[in-house]
């Protein structure tokens, strides 16, 4: 159990989503075992005992402005419903509580939802079945809060006195451009063995460069009528043994375990002739997709169906949800004219004709441009943020 706890603490550190010295992880089989900050150990044990869950993470998010979100909307307790796809599909909502919330209240909310945000304590995320679930839920909440804060900040500006300073620290210390040059790609992928090793390497690069948390995102490559694709729930940075070969002639249904975006990947390679497809959730790209300037739109469900043609920095922005009847319908059309497409609230898809260098570089470049665009827009609209005061 200790090995498992340490492995997930390392993942959270690699994701830069936690303050390691203030993080508590807990896992249970026959007994509850803890790792990390002992301050929250009693809280962790009480919560685990009450929920009967297998895993728990208690950690203040590494970006302190995330805890300011509740104060920007309304007094706590509150419920946040960020507009990113991870919230929409899995989290549904994020309950928020004040620091002095009774433990029974925290437990009551964790009985109903995957995680909560408690002021001055941080994100408390539970995993019903495994510690990995707690990690996924924590990462999703961090991602959702990150997106929600940036969107709201640009739209309404700083509302609290400490925000400019905190955001300035975020800019100078946490934020960094996506590294797209330190990775080595094979010049071509002309056999299955090379193809798979490139998928494994590219998946790792995508996570290491911060374009996606390891649980999300997916990747595929076409070879001789077989689409090799990451499995559903695969960690993108640990793809060895987690790639499914899916024959495009539907002669086998073993691909049930393929990514939930299989239909979209297949439709894109069919429509575009691309050999490789990479999908990730780069945060500034996602933020950009949510910042629609239209004020007269009568659309009711931007995730499923957008009545307008949108683009950001030349990249088409489309609607479409994961799975049946969604992205597999909207994505191929957009990617026939662009090797990069941005999905509302969700992330980017990028294609390559020879290997993975093209989609990775395109995705990283676009994320850097979106980041620059966001920061420039923020400074222009809200000068106090530029000055950091």
């Amino acid at each position: 159990m200790k090995t498992l706890l340490e492995a997930f603490r390392r993942k959270l550190e690699r994701d830069r989503s936690i303050l390691p010295e203030q993080t508590t992880l807990a896992a249970a089989n026959r007994e509850i075992e803890l790792l990390g900050d002992t301050t929250n150990a009693p809280l962790a044990k009480t919560i685990m005992g009450a929920l009967g869950s297998a895993g728990l993470i208690i950690a203040p998010p590494s970006l302190p402005f995330l805890e300011l979100l509740p104060q920007r909307y309304c007094p706590v307790p509150a419920t946040l419903k960020p507009r990113d796809s991870e919230t929409r599909l899995f989290l549904h909502e994020i309950p928020v509580l004040p620091n002095d919330a009774p433990i029974d209240t925290i437990i009551g909310l964790l009985k109903a939802r995957k995680g909560v945000l408690v002021e001055k304590i941080g994100i408390i995320a539970a995993g019903v079945f495994t510690l990995e679930q707690a990690y996924i839920n924590f990462s999703s909440i961090f991602h959702a809060l990150f997106i929600a804060y940036l969107v709201d900040l640009l739209q309404r500006g700083p509302l609290l006195p400490q925000e400019p300073v905190l955001f300035s620290e975020f800019r100078t210390r946490w934020l960094r451009p996506v590294n797209k040059s330190d990775f080595i790609f094979a010049p071509s992928i002309d056999n299955t063995e090379t193809l798979r090793s490139e998928m494994i390497a590219t998946g790792r690069y995508t996570v290491e460069s911060g374009l996606v948390d390891s649980f999300f995102g997916n990747i595929s490559a076409l070879q001789d009528g077989v689409l090799h694709i990451s499995q559903t729930a695969a960690s993108l940075d640990e793809l060895a043994g987690q790639i499914d070969p899916v024959p495009l002639d539907l002669s086998s249904t073993a691909g049930i375990t393929a990514s939930s975006e299989l239909a979209a990947h297949r439709a894109v390679v069919d429509a575009t002739g691309a050999r490789t497809v990479l999908h990730a959730h780069p945060r500034f790209s996602v933020v950009a997709s949510l910042l629609c300037e239209r004020t007269d739109c009568k659309g009711e469900d931007c995730w499923r169906s957008c009545p307008h043609e949108r683009s950001i920095l030349g990249v088409p922005v489309i609607s479409g949800e994961t799975g049946a009847g969604g992205l597999a319908t909207t994505l191929p059309r957009a990617m026939q004219t662009s090797p990069l497409a941005l999905v509302y609230g969700h992330g980017t898809f990028a294609t390559g004709s020879t290997g993975f260098s093209e989609p990775f570089q395109a995705m990283a470049e676009f994320e850097n441009l979106c980041r620059e665009h966001y920061l420039n827009s923020l400074d222009e609209r809200w000068p106090a943020m530029a000055a950091g005061d």
């Binding site: 089989n29 297998a54 599909l89 009985k111 109903a112 002669s251 086998s252 049946a324």
Partner: protein, 573 residues
């Protein structure tokens, strides 16, 4: 808020009478419906004599039945299994749960014994008893076809009427036959068919299903390109084969190179295949070809395991025989597979068809198999060759390829069942997160948690297929909206734990002990059919024993297997 369907109909077959009364609200609010209610009702009637005629049978629905909320129309059939001797509940698809709800019934309790084979029809304000006449011992589809009135119909077939302990019940023209021999219990009570008129009452939900529908659409298993919406559960054949878990030769092998002859694409070669859905469900996981529902994975793979030269046509024919005879195909195939090993030979398609008929009518050499593999091997003095747990023949998922599933087989309160622990979902389908199928670490707690959640979901009448995508987190608010019962997912899991405790307590009173939580020795001593990429070694007994010990500790079972939670059962409604 008063739940619309809250009455229990008690049928006394001895006197040919029925009485209807609202269930005590405290009892209903605690046990909610479905499996919880079934177990609660059955607990009052533990059969201390081996004569299962005395024990009642129950049919219960979840509290959202008939509402149109996707996947909440499962019927729970409950009783004491003449095959396993355990308390036994089955979650069954079909039209019966919404039919009951339309009559404002949450359950039917069947007691007594009819003096002659009979048929009972439930209508609004009326219960009609009639003689079965020439329909007793008729084929199941004949009964459904020849009943004078329309409605949702539960039938038994010739296998039950001949007293086969592996006889099940069938609902309408559905593919599935229930397990555990409850069809025989019904036959012993003299009830050939139960029909429920579809009443006028409807209790539609007012929306709020978007979260559910989104998850279904995103689920590879449900609505992906290879999902059950297209292939039914036949989509599992290729995957289970590739995982080296597809048994044949009485679980001596776990792979065969011709599995693609009976996989999903092979069965769906017919372009005229259509799909049937349960009430309100967008998935539609019942593929229909030429007017007949295709077999499930479990039936198809169990039957294919007997055939040296399988074809979809042969498998469909043999599956059809089981449906018409009312014979559980998994148990029937398991018994024949064992015979084949004992006799050292394979059987032809014709011989298997003959054996199925003989099992159904208790004639010829097949007659000795009619009571399942465990009794057969005792007669043959080869108990180690029965691939069963607590007397229930194992479905065609080899446990050496999924150790959590192995643990779940052993701990299941009804015997060799894959659905109570739901290990298939995380070890094979990778949902909600993948777990290492060759590792027992952490699986004890996982098994306890998933058993509790399954019991809770069965209580809500939720379809187990949909739980590969959704969870109680999505169903709990719908439960509240529809019935006024405010329960969090954790509350429901706690109820699930109480249900399992009640089942284990009943089984203890029926003579079951911790040593009954075990797998056949084959799985600890013989390897499966591995491949170059990975071997399939025997399960390590020491690790398995430790996992069982951990399970008992986490479930708080005493040395006799009695849950500590059983102490408070008497204090509950």
């Amino acid at each position: 808020m008063t739940r619309p369907a809250h009455d229990l109909l008690t049928i006394d077959l001895t006197s040919g009478t029925a009485s209807r009364s609202p269930l005590n609200s405290g009892l209903l609010n605690f046990w909610i419906g479905g499996r919880g209610l079934a177990v609660r009702l059955l607990r009052d009637h533990i059969p201390f004599s081996p004569d299962y005629r005395e024990a009642p049978l129950v049919l219960t629905t979840g509290p959202m039945a008939g509402s149109g909320i996707p996947g909440t129309d499962r019927l729970i059939l409950g009783g004491y299994s003449p095959l396993t001797g355990t308390i036994f509940t089955e979650s069954l698809p079909g039209s019966m749960a919404p039919a009951l709800a339309s009559q404002r019934l949450i359950g039917v309790l069947i007691t007594g014994t009819s003096p002659s084979p009979s048929i009972v029809r439930i209508e609004k304000d009326n219960v009609i008893f009639s003689e079965a006449g020439k329909l007793s011992s008729a084929l199941t589809s004949t009964i459904v076809r020849d009943l004078p009135s329309a409605g949702s119909t539960l039938t038994i077939g010739p296998a039950a009427c001949s007293g086969s302990l592996i006889a099940g019940i069938r609902i309408d023209h559905d593919a599935s036959i229930s397990r555990g021999g409850l069809g025989t219990s019904l036959a012993a009570k003299g009830l050939i068919a139960l029909q429920i008129d579809h009443g006028e009452e409807r209790f539609p939900c007012d929306g709020g299903c978007d979260d559910l529908l989104r998850l279904f659409r995103a689920s590879p298993f449900l609505m992906g390109p290879f999902g059950i919406h297209r292939y039914g559960t036949l989509n599992l054949v290729d995957l289970i084969a590739e995982r080296r878990m597809l048994p044949a030769d009485n679980f001596r092998t776990t792979w065969r190179k011709d599995f693609s002859r009976f996989d999903g694409p092979a069965f769906l070669g017919d372009p005229a295949v259509s799909h049937r859905s349960c009430n309100g469900c967008p998935v539609g996981c019942h593929p229909v070809s030429s007017g007949e529902e295709l077999p499930s994975f479990e039936s198809a793979a169990a039957i294919a395991a007997l055939l040296p030269d399988p074809s979809t046509r042969d498998i469909q024919h043999l599956d059809r025989l089981c449906r018409e005879f009312g014979l559980d195909p998994i148990s029937a195939a398991g018994a024949i597979g064992c015979t084949a090993e004992i006799e050292g030979r394979n059987f032809s398609f014709d011989t298997i068809a003959t054996l199925f008929e003989q099992m159904a009518f208790r004639t010829g050499s097949g007659g000795s198999l009619a009571d399942g593999v465990t009794r057969y091997v005792q007669f043959e003095k080869k108990p180690h060759l029965a691939m069963a747990v607590k007397g229930l023949e194992l479905p065609p998922y080899d446990p050496r390829g999924a150790h959590g599933m192995a643990l779940g087989y052993a701990t299941s309160t009804k015997g060799g069942c894959v659905s109570q622990s739901r290990a298939l979902t995380h070890e094979i389908l990778r949902k909600p997160v993948p777990t290492d199928r060759f590792n027992l670490a952490g699986k004890a707690r996982l098994t306890v948690l998933t058993e509790n959640l399954t019991a809770a979901a069965d209580t809500l009448g939720v379809c187990p297929h949909l739980l590969t995508a959704a969870s109680l987190e999505e169903y709990a608010p719908l439960l509240s909206n529809q019935s006024g019962l405010n329960r969090t997912p954790a509350d429901l899991a706690e109820l699930g734990e109480t249900i399992i405790a009640a089942e284990r307590f009943c089984n203890h009173l029926l003579g079951f002990r911790p040593t009954d939580d075990m797998l056949p020795h084959r799985f600890f001593s013989e390897a499966g059919s591995g491949c170059q990429e990975f071997p399939v070694p025997p399960i390590k007994m020491t690790e398995f024993a430790q996992a069982l010990e951990d399970y008992a500790a986490i479930r708080r079972l005493d040395n006799e297997g009695v849950p500590l939670a059983a102490e408070r059962l008497q204090d509950l409604p």
